[in-house]
Amino acid sequence: MNAATAEAIPAEPRAIVEVEDVSKVYPGGTEALNHVSLDFPEGQLTTLLGPSGCGKTTLLKIIAGLIPATGGEVRVDGKVVTGPGPERAFVFQDFALMPWANVLRNVAFGLELRGVARSEREAVAESYIGQVGLKGFEKAYPHELSGGMRQRVGLARALTVNAKVLLMDEPFSAVDEQTRRKFQEDLLELVARERKTFLFVTHSIEEAVYVSDRIVLLSRRPSRVSQIVEPDIPRGDDPEAIRRDPAYIDTVEEIWQGLKKYLDEGV
């Protein structure tokens, strides 16, 4: 894998997603985000990590243009976000697959909505179905697939539209632990292969440290950025080695200590 060489060059990449002073107050007065400012460097996987209900999904959906911010602005690739755009694709926590459509149509759906001709979009979809390891399941329906396979469909759908930024909202939280580990390994490979920016939301410290170039710790609601951690873990050929690396274990511990104080406050 060439991830290691990419790690070796610490040149500062430009920020492709810029979050500036974003606040979100839900109708009813719940304050989810409190003046959050944050940059997401291009070509990296940045994780938003924080206690549940801290507004990390809210921030991701604001970046996606699915919900409006109450204050501040988000720029993607220099352009102010006013709604969803072609340079962003979303991977949903609950997969958001259409139960009445087979894998092929679900994966090609982003292109279908863009008016791409059927033969063309299905060719693209088939290639991504192969890439996520679902070859042979093109005609299967979502209910015939396991949770992990369903999320692979969701991932393939996000990849087909060839967006620069992939927004992933706790994509592995609804799959079992073994599948999850395999997924995390595959994700590392995907990040190395696709030259894309990944924004990843999770509540699992281990998952964040394992997959991320950069981890943004959010505080309890109303969220602020409390800390940014850049795990310095060598991403070698053996994905299992990462979990045994002392730097991995130390980073997990460091983040846990950082988050613990919010839990203590909360109790």
Partner: protein, 302 residues
């Protein structure tokens, strides 16, 4: 959609599977346990029985036989001189079929029913979906249908007769009043309960409002809309018979009232029986239609 070509094959497999399931199962167990193969001994006989008993067609048949036997028994007791046995009723039914009375009656009854149901389905689904998509339309229209749904129809029939006379119009209106509210309210709820994440998915992949409605909202709502259609059509059948009994006796309603008045109870029950059977078959047809047209995932599994 491209599935119809592949689904019959899948379907055939699915139906064929109960029979070869056992050999395949034993083959699997001896293959996976490469250690001493455990021989499943006394399985075959109870398995065949179990498969027969759990076969949907068999259970349905048993259920029907029990009901008809109970009917026959109750008629023979007899629980009332006005209650014919099942066999007497079937005999009367074949008589009504043979002399053409039943077909004539159905032809007359089906007219207000067909017009009423068609109007209810088209208008009802359109109204319901519109109200599901638009809050203002819901606030404006929903009260009307909620009232129509809870109003006792028999009490409204005199008003309908005053307004529309005793002809076809009043009967069509009766069918509509019975059928439409269920269809409208189900369509409304179906559209309203489109999973949020599917809507977000449609928007995030740049679907226009119309694309989201056509490609996500309506397919997602189809199962509940169709549930409403089945309930609505069943109610429409009740409506048309009520109209024929309460406004002017025509068609099936005429056979029922006439034979009741001359104490030909077997014929009366035969007419009731025939309309129930027709109603059940019609509603089954709607379900088939739904699965063939809108639920490819259901066809793929069974």
């Amino acid at each position: 959609m491209q599935t119809p070509t592949s689904s019959p094959a899948l379907r055939a497999e699915g139906q064929a599977s109960p029979a070869p399931a056992r050999p395949a199962g034993t083959g699997l167990s001896s293959g996976s346990d490469s250690a001493p193969p455990v021989a499943p001994v006394a399985l075959p006989a109870p398995n065949v029985m179990a498969q027969l008993v759990s076969h949907p067609l068999f259970l349905r048949l048993v259920s029907v036989v029990i009901v008809f036997s109970a009917w026959e028994y109750a008629g023979r007791v007899p629980i009332s001189p006005a209650f014919p046995t099942f066999l007497e009723t079937m005999d009367a039914l074949s008589g009504l079929v043979a002399d053409g009375t039943l077909f004539q009656a159905f032809w007359i009854t089906l007219q207000p029913l067909a017009i009423g149901l068609l109007a209810s389905v088209v208008v009802g689904v359109a109204f319901g979906v519109t109200m599901g998509l638009n809050r203002l339309a819901e606030w404006f229209g929903a009260p009307l249908f909620i009232i129509a749904q809870s109003a006792p129809l028999a009490a409204l029939i005199p008003i309908l007769t005053f307004a529309y006379g005793i002809g076809l119009t009043a009967k069509v209106m009766t069918v509509c009043i019975m059928a439409m509210p269920v269809i409208v309210l189900n369509s409304l709820n179906a559209v309203r309960h489109t999973p949020l994440s599917l809507l977000e998915m449609g928007r995030s992949f740049l679907g226009s409002r119309w694309q989201v409605i056509w490609k996500i909202v309506l397919p997602a709502a189809a199962p509940v809309i169709f549930a409403g259609l089945r309930l609505g059509c069943a109610a429409g059948f009740i409506g048309v018979i009520l109209a024929e009994l309460l406004i002017t006796p025509t068609g099936i309603g005429d056979i029922i009232t006439y034979n009741q008045s001359i104490a030909e109870y077997a014929k009366m029950y035969a007419a009731i029986f025939s309309i129930i059977v027709f109603s059940v078959l019609f509603i089954e047809l709607i379900e088939r239609l739904e699965v063939t047209l809108f639920r490819p995932e259901k066809r793929a599994t069974r």
